[in-house]
Symmetry: C2
Subunit: 199 residues, 2 copies
């Protein structure tokens, strides 16, 4: 079951923009983040939920899309995300204890995206963010640092995972039918060693 | 469904050590990591699978356990993890392009732990690692940097999530029945703002 969900959870970048996602649904996704692991249980993550169309357009303009698709500036009007969850780090929480390189937001984002897929949506984690601009749009102060943006919507594209040929490029690409191809290293390439007694 | 899985996926630190996890099961977990998102699709993560008892003991001795439980040095013999997945970063892969602060390993670990829970196991992400020592135990060279260790087993403890009282400590604690309590901020505390049109 989970495997189906993980496989269906591709990084989607084109959506049916008019298929809205309710605030209640966004809250349910944050609830999944709330129950996900974090370093030392400090819970420094905070969240901003956005499905209001005008603000969504502003958020969109602060994001970088699919760096490997050189001639594609991102989804056009009508195919943009219907909602966003902006993941913040609250610097009022244990600034001294936590190192800079926390990974809590990645754990949270993975839980939220799997949850979105289960609900018939999908999305993409976006790290290429104009943080200063978005922070201003959202009226955030110095206390809240933007770590990651999760873009969400009803996916309008087919994403296909292909086995990566040894030595080939890992760049994703689009074919003539606009199918988005993602080459993934094979399982055997990922496993450096198995130290096992057979069970 | 996913919510049940996310809620059951607590950070477990005591296990039925004799309940083995097969290499095939560990490979299935890595397959979930393989299908999880990563920055720019570069896939710099590699994995070492360990369920061999003697080596597992060595791995155990390289890990820090539950920093907040000051009088508990970690699980005793008989309650230790039955298996480990060590997540590596392969520095032969795009050393130039990728920044130091990748979060791919956290995404991968979350997928693997959710998968473990679905299979009746559980575990814990451990970042407190004697990297030099473990690297030597595993015969790793400079190419492979240890990012995270995922400890796995059949959980032998009850973990209960409690709502965090405002202003109270986030430290987890154990009661007389050895139930492990984890105070979590409430959903309302996590959400800084909702910018929504009701749908």
């Amino acid at each position: 079951m989970l495997k189906k969900l993980v496989m269906a959870n591709r990084s989607y970048r084109r959506f049916y923009q008019d298929e809205k996602i309710s605030t209640d649904t966004l809250r349910e996704l944050v609830e999944l983040a709330r129950y996900s692991a974090c370093g030392a249980n400090l819970q420094p993550l905070k969240f901003v939920l956005i499905n209001q169309p005008e603000l969504s357009q502003k958020v969109f303009s602060r994001l970088g899309w699919a760096a490997a698709l050189k001639n594609w500036p991102g989804p056009e009007q009508g195919e943009r995300p219907a909602a966003y969850v902006v993941i913040l780090r609250d610097h009022a929480i244990d600034r001294g204890f936590l190192k800079d390189d926390i990974v809590d937001h990645a754990i949270a984002a993975q839980s939220m995206l799997l949850g979105a897929v289960e609900k018939g949506f999908g999305g993409c984690m976006i790290g290429m963010v104009n943080r200063k601009g978005l922070s201003k749009d959202l009226g955030l102060g110095e206390q809240h640092e933007i770590l990651l943006v999760v873009a969400l919507g009803k996916p309008k594209e087919t994403v296909q995972v292909d086995d990566l040929e040894p030595g080939a490029s890992t760049n994703y690409w689009r074919d003539e039918q606009m199918v988005h191809h993602v080459p993934k290293r094979t399982l055997d390439e990922l496993i450096v060693a198995e130290h096992g007694d057979e069970v």
